[in-house]
Symmetry: D2
């Protein structure tokens, strides 16, 4: 039995659910879980299905072709189909902060994340010992204003060489260029150290401290060419008070960053994320 995940969105219309589930049934598949959403304002329909087929790869390819012709085109669907048993390949980008890296690698090593991590890329050498301790290749690619374009070329080559499916910026302290981003649409996940849209930019914990907020946050989002403007995947908050200074905010924020980033990675891995209109649908 092959487990597959279907992600579909299309203009909302009568009968989509019946059509899709029938088609799967007709192809001897079993829909074991369905989750659906309709954006009433935009009149857009979203669906995630988990199915089982007792067919081989070849027949699945035929299914796809057939689904495109008989269903997807009729409904003007944007759709994707994933082999639920195949682990995606994730690249980590880091700089000097190690807490998100430790957290992700700890989850990875304990089997919590169903993913391959074939490579860690960094613009600093500081975190190499951690990569070594977890036996993961560490590629040091320094980045300066002058070498940025060249560095990105080198990074993209590595990503291709290692057949990377998606990228996680685990506190990578460099802006990614639009050219780079365009090659990985909604495949780069970043963690921002604030409750967006509050406190975009650098030094968000200091800005939060200056404003005297009583709650701080962290936000994971897909990277688009608009910095801090990409579709939000997950947010979490922590309480602070007058007794905490900007350093305390940062320390508390680290726990938020770890949790919010790891949740985003899991959602992405489990194919629970659909992007539309610069927002995410996060299936449960």
């Amino acid at each position: 039995m092959k487990k597959t995940t279907l992600l579909i969105n299309c203009p909302d219309r009568k009968g989509i659910i019946a059509t899709v589930t029938n088609f799967i049934l007709a192809k001897k598949g079993n829909t074991i879980y369905i989750e659906q959403h309709v954006d009433r304002e935009l009149k857009e329909f979203f669906m995630r299905l988990e199915c089982e087929f007792d067919e081989d790869e070849e027949k699945l390819a035929l299914f796809k072709e057939s689904f495109t012709t008989h269903v997807a085109e009729n409904y003007n669907m944007h759709w994707e189909m994933y082999n639920a048993e195949k682990k995606p390949r994730m690249a980590l980008f880091v700089s000097k902060y190690n807490h998100c890296l430790y957290d992700i690698l700890g989850r990875y090593a304990s089997g919590e994340l169903k993913v391959h991590i074939p490579i860690i890329i960094s613009n600093h050498e500081d975190l190499k010992p951690i990569a070594d301790a977890f036996d993961i290749p560490f590629k040091y690619i320094p980045v300066t204003t002058d070498t940025k374009r060249q560095a990105e070329t080198q990074q993209i080559e590595l990503l291709k060489e290692y057949k990377i499916d998606f990228i996680v910026l685990a506190r990578y302290m460099q802006i990614i260029s639009s050219d780079f981003i365009d090659q990985f649409p909604y495949k780069i996940i970043n963690i921002h150290r604030s409750f967006l849209p509050a406190f975009p930019g650098t030094k968000p914990y200091h800005s939060a401290y200056e404003r005297g907020v009583k709650i701080i946050g962290a936000t994971s989002h897909y990277v688009t060419s608009d910095p801090e403007g990409g579709p939000i995947i997950e947010q979490e908050i922590a309480r602070v008070s007058h007794i905490h200074n900007a350093d305390d905010f940062m320390l508390k924020g680290r726990d938020l960053e770890k949790i919010v980033l790891s949740r985003a990675i899991k959602h992405h891995l489990e194919r629970k994320l659909l992007v539309y209109n610069n927002k995410t649908v996060v299936f449960s």
Copy 2:
């Protein structure tokens, strides 16, 4: 267009979703929202559908009959169908505490709760002025150990007279008898002042204080013959510390009770609750 809500549960089997959505389509209905859940351990299937039919009451009755014969019986379904535009009728039971009553009536008066409240029943007269201020009939039925059975008979008569669909115990400080409960299966909602199953029984805030917990809670649940043992609908918590004594716990708890009870009422009103195996499925 008639909006209806279908709640279904049955043993899990291949093709249920396709069958149901097809049947609705065939009957000229439109499934506008579907939510589904499968309990893998118990192999039980749960589904909630929001549908629109452009048919009149009579034709809906025919639909029901037809659905029973052609679908429900085949799948051994337990199912219910609700007119989504008809407001249910809710009775409030209260004693002396007024915060939940104020909260519910405030939400009711501001149109937040899509419900009728034809009657408030109490074993004390204290809260009558509040019922009066909100123009809701208040029935005072005192309860003593000796008069309990008789009082319940009187209550049940009132519930029938007022065509009550479900009951909310808004800090009603009396145990309801099994006989009473049996007449309203999963139609009585209670609020318990702790994070169940911690601190069942009376004086939960005092017990929580004695134990030195750092978090307190409140739990709304359907009333069954097992006190505090019924299916949990919703829970919420608040942080406490050594600076709070049992009275502070109680005061903080009031906000929890209000929120947890009002959320349970809303879930019930929106037909989002299915009970199975003494647990609730709470559709979103």
Copy 3:
């Protein structure tokens, strides 16, 4: 025994705590609770003391004079002393939304808020029946662009007539002028429908929905001439997801607004708030 609350702030220096507690002891007072904070960056010292004196009003006046000369002036203190048994007088300003009003009045009626509410002022007549139900004088003062100055003059006269200590804007939908605010420095509490500084301005729930946030919030703050820029007193959040639209945000937000505003009122009533550098110290 007279219970009093002292709120002190001054430049940080050695020996302040010892000096103050000794002085109170020497005057036959007993410090029953002390809470202290130091802002290390600004080198400012903050302290809240609860004391008991077995003296009459006249002797307390002498204490104040003596404290000023012997302690406060030496340390360059800003300080205030409150009779902890005297309930402050609070005016409510409302417009058309009733949920915060119901919530505050419910808490007031049940004795949860140790305050007098001698008057409710509104620029609309809609909420008069609620004021009537709770037996509180309701003053209707319409406000248009042309009559604004005149309306504020009328409001201020009422506030003086009713000897109001502080004002709560319980969803009052008018901007208060700087002239008005200057007469009540840090004595006007507002509730804003977002997690400030995110989404200032009008329609914050719609903006939050547009941005696709996963968490919404509410903020209570003292009103200053900078709209939404005053010292934050309290914030709270709630989770949202793609299934919620802007109306759902608003509905969920109402519970946040009620809780955040009532907490701010309680902090203010219990003299737990000190403002410094446009931030609040919130003693526990």
Copy 4:
């Protein structure tokens, strides 16, 4: 300048704060932070002071002697004084689960925890590679019913040899004997996988799942001879729903366990914990 932390508790009486702060001032110390609590029911006074002395070790010893005679004995105080600059020595006990171990060592390696970890003790060899990766000695001491007493003797010898100040059971799956516990009163911190007092004992996540709770929790506590009955240090919760099974509870619980345990360790390290009447006072 020597930074020291004083923790004091004694029967509540007039003038304690003034006496203590004066005494410190007289000894040329500066009280830079004070936090105080009074348990009104038990009439017990608690205080934590951070002080600076520009004196050497020898003079501090004299201070202690003098404080005992002139202050502590008069007030019948229980008190402790810590050198705030000296890092305590913590032993980790683990079994097979690695998530808490990874979390603690990640925080340790990144400098977040001001502590020495001279040794990790385990009844299984599984986690040795992690200890190796972080360069911490790993002692494997197998435990069977027959060898338990002997194993504990060996553990205690190690703890003495490594001059251990306190012990953290980071998912150590063995019951510690009363004899062992008596040698480390309020110096052993455990993490329990539920919101105590709900679901004590083994398999708490399964019990929580069976009961159908909507919120799960984790609790860190000092170990006493009453299993799961020791003073609670910290608790945290996470939301669950019908879509989560017992394994999901466990997975979500891991994040709670990590956070709740690390917070307890920090509170202990910063000398913010006082135990009284089987509860903790947790200074902020």
